[in-house]
Symmetry: C2
Subunit: 141 residues, 2 copies
């Protein structure tokens, strides 16, 4: 884990700092997307709020994580897959929000479907967010 994180930071041309390691750790330990508050809980009192904001922004810029738009306008972050790089995200997958456990997941293998635009409108990016019951919650009820 430790080494995997260090490699990722090096590959992204980022210096290895305690906060970056700890914050990345949060993402590798959780399979779902994280809100700023989740990360604050995970890293505890170790780092300043501001550091977390700046670190997350850095990770987004470097293509390490991506943000997820949600209907209730909370900001969520999740790890990007390898195809993302600095200044160029390739996150065209669908996101799923569970109404029961309230977790948000990247459905890596579900590509956002095409949609026919009215005349005059040119689409450059499409976000799709699905809510419902996740596979874990469906299995345990």
């Amino acid at each position: 884990m430790e080494q995997k994180i260090i490699d990722l930071l090096k590959r992204s041309n980022l210096s290895i700092t305690d906060s970056r390691k700890k914050i990345l750790e949060s993402f590798f330990q959780e399979d779902s997307a994280l809100a700023h508050a989740d990360i604050e809980n995970h890293v505890g009192q170790d780092f300043d709020r501001v550091t977390i904001y700046r670190t997350l922004q850095t990770f987004v810029d470097k293509g390490i994580i991506h943000t997820i738009p949600t209907p209730d306008n909370a900001v969520l972050y999740a790890l990007c897959k390898d195809s993302c790089s600095a200044g160029h995200h390739h996150d065209n997958h669908v996101h799923f929000i569970c109404d029961n456990c309230n977790k948000t997941f990247c459905l890596e293998h579900v590509v956002v479907p095409a949609v026919h635009m009215p005349v005059g409108f040119a689409a450059s990016q499409i976000d799709m967010v699905v809510s419902g019951i996740c596979n874990y919650c469906n299995a345990t009820t």
Copy 2:
């Protein structure tokens, strides 16, 4: 206009107040979705910030307007079509955000396409937000 607004409020079982009239007016005058700040600008100093928040919430509850999730997590509101009623929205259309003029539109006639969920996931609601260049901006450049 005035009469149209009064009728809409009566139909929704809401009392006719100055703030509700003025805020609804904002929506009828604009063809694009409005942020809280836009409405604050439109109504000027006439009403308190809190009143605007509460009025918008009331309108959402009554099925008069709906919220639009955006990738940058701003809250936007737009008029619902007639099929929406108190406690039951029917807004399954695609939303479009123009990268040029920065306005957001309801594409009333573009229905959110179906998407195939992985095993175990049950979808109950789907939001699709497209960004790009709108028809007005494409026509004038």
